[in-house]
Amino acid sequence: MFSTLNIRIGFFLAKRQIKRSSLWTTVLIIFVMFFTFLNLVVVTGILIGLLQGAIDAVRNHYTSDVIISSLNNKTYIENSPEVIRIVKSIPEVEAISSRYSEGGTLEANYKTRTNEKEKPNIASTTIVGIDPMAENKVTDLSKFVIEGEYLSPGDYDQILIGAFLSKKYLDFDYPGFSALRDVGPGIKVRMNIKGIEREVTIKGVIKSKVDQIDMGVFMIDSQLRSMIGRNDYNIDEVAIKLKKGADPVLVRDTLKQNGVSQVAKVQTYADAQPKFIKDMIDTFTILANALSSIGLVVASITIFIVIFINAITRRKFIGILKGIGISESAIEISYILQSFFYAFCGSIIGIIVLYAFLQPYMAANPINFPFSDGILVAPIGGTLMRVGLLVITTIIAGFIPARLVVRKNTLDSILGRN
């Protein structure tokens, strides 16, 4: 079927049909293919991007590129000063933030509570001790202050609270968790860590799209250290920001080779992702593929109809072509090439719009989903694979009706007989 001669004649026929067909019809078909392409790539890209946004947020604002945390059977990282020394000796490391963390509670309105039977305005949380400057270098935490101010070194008895600890931002309770009423910058609250109480002032409220931040409390590391009696400088976790282009896997492996894994868990941001995120990525990928399949079916039906109508209305001319000795294969190839042309043009325009406008625009203006800043994820490899799928589907959808019409009796076609 695909002899050089048939392809040459098929190309000759297809070129002239496209060239002399109605411009508006051609534009409309290419437009349909363009939107099909967007449906295939953008819907998938946004679904994946929604999770990618969440992953990026955790990476950029909590774990950073590599995170070292205490082993499951330890309450802190033993021999932390040596671990930090090793981390700092790695050339790819740009900045680090050492953190202490301890479970505790915050109680508000305790001074106005007169009745013992009145439910206390209390919330359980994780209290994280940080060096505000180092933390900000690694995670940009100050960017998320929505009320009050960020911590400064020496801000003793002052804390930042995550927005979800305030009913103002999370107005519901669920078992094991309740937010505080009437709290905000300047309000004093009572902090309780392992029975040690201290009255602290809320300096600011932070809100991001990372739960560890939005449900936590941040205070100066030295104060938390003294409250929990951690005089050996052993910390709970270290977030490590790498220089641009550095490979987190390589740094993780270097740390492991230097013995850090014997006293702590060493994970890249990807390793540290909760399992549900990984499950959701798999789920969304399946969902996106299902939606893409529907898009492909719609595209193939569109092309089928277009080519079928074209072939039916040109049945007489197909008969004439056969009558003057043009092979059926050459005629079929001409329709395959027309389908290819429509799919190819639609995809090329789609690729230009995607990479020149949509992706950069969405990277600069992410969609504000409740739990992530959704971006558009469209890796070149995946996009080209989808273009291939679209082209193949379109070619098949164009070939079938062409074959149905071409195989009809030559004379019946010429005379318009059924």
Binding site: L5, I9, R16, F317, I324, G325
Partner: protein, 224 residues
């Protein structure tokens, strides 16, 4: 040489079969010009379609240069039509999206001529039928007579053994019809075998023999 032996053709009409050709025997020698005449429904065009391999007879034999074409596969018939036969249809049957030149060049390209050679040959034949100035016009930009001349140029450009014409002047005015018939006359003078269906007595006189059909049978053959 084309030889038709006991050729029959019938069509299904609901439950019944309608016989259109009822056992035709005819032979046409190389270089001969034969006109087929008869009243409407006599079976003239049907006979032409069978002889030109555009349709399949119900029974009988069609031998062209001693080859029994009835046994040809669809692809063999297509190839045979491409290389040995030429057609001039009543309604010109040009491809609307192609210029006069492209319409004529297409069968040549299918015969694996290079594009340059095909266009040269097509130009030559369009000049021959008096359309040297209209090479790049689309069919819609040509008159009926001009379109029929393009159709003739397409039919003869690949130098077919037999030229079939199905009422080539039926849609044309007298002036255009005369031009077309003069082209046929010249082609025949150069040795081209022509089999033409016509209902116009005036033009049947251009042929050497006139085959009269009635009710699916040859009723007479007249020599001019």
């Amino acid at each position: 040489m084309i030889e038709v032996k006991n050729l029959k053709k019938s069509f299904k009409d609901g439950e019944n079969r309608v016989a259109v050709l009822k056992g035709i025997d005819l032979s046409v020698k190389n270089g001969e010009f034969v006109a087929i005449m008869g009243r409407s429904g006599a079976g003239k065009s049907t006979l032409l379609y069978q002889m030109s391999l555009l349709d399949e007879p119900t029974s009988g034999e069609i031998l062209i240069d001693e080859k029994n074409t009835i046994k040809f596969s669809i692809n063999e018939k297509t190839l045979f039509r491409l290389s040995k036969l030429g057609y001039v249809f009543q309604d010109y049957a040009l491809l609307p999206e192609m210029t006069a030149l492209e319409n004529v060049a297409l069968p040549l390209l299918m015969q694996d001529f290079s594009e340059k050679k095909a266009y040269e040959k097509a130009t030559e034949h369009l000049i021959l039928v008096g359309l040297g100035e209209r090479l790049n016009n689309l069919p819609s930009q040509l008159s009926g007579g001009e379109q029929q001349r393009v159709s003739i140029a397409r039919a003869i450009a690949h130098e077919p053994k037999i030229l079939f014409a199905d009422e080539p002047t039926a849609n044309l005015d007298n002036e255009s019809s005369r031009i077309i018939m003069n082209i046929f006359k010249e082609l025949h003078a150069e040795g081209q075998t022509i089999i033409m269906v016509t209902h116009e007595l005036e033009y049947s006189k251009f042929a050497q023999r006139i085959v009269h059909l009635d009710d699916g049978k040859i009723v007479s053959i007249e020599n001019n």
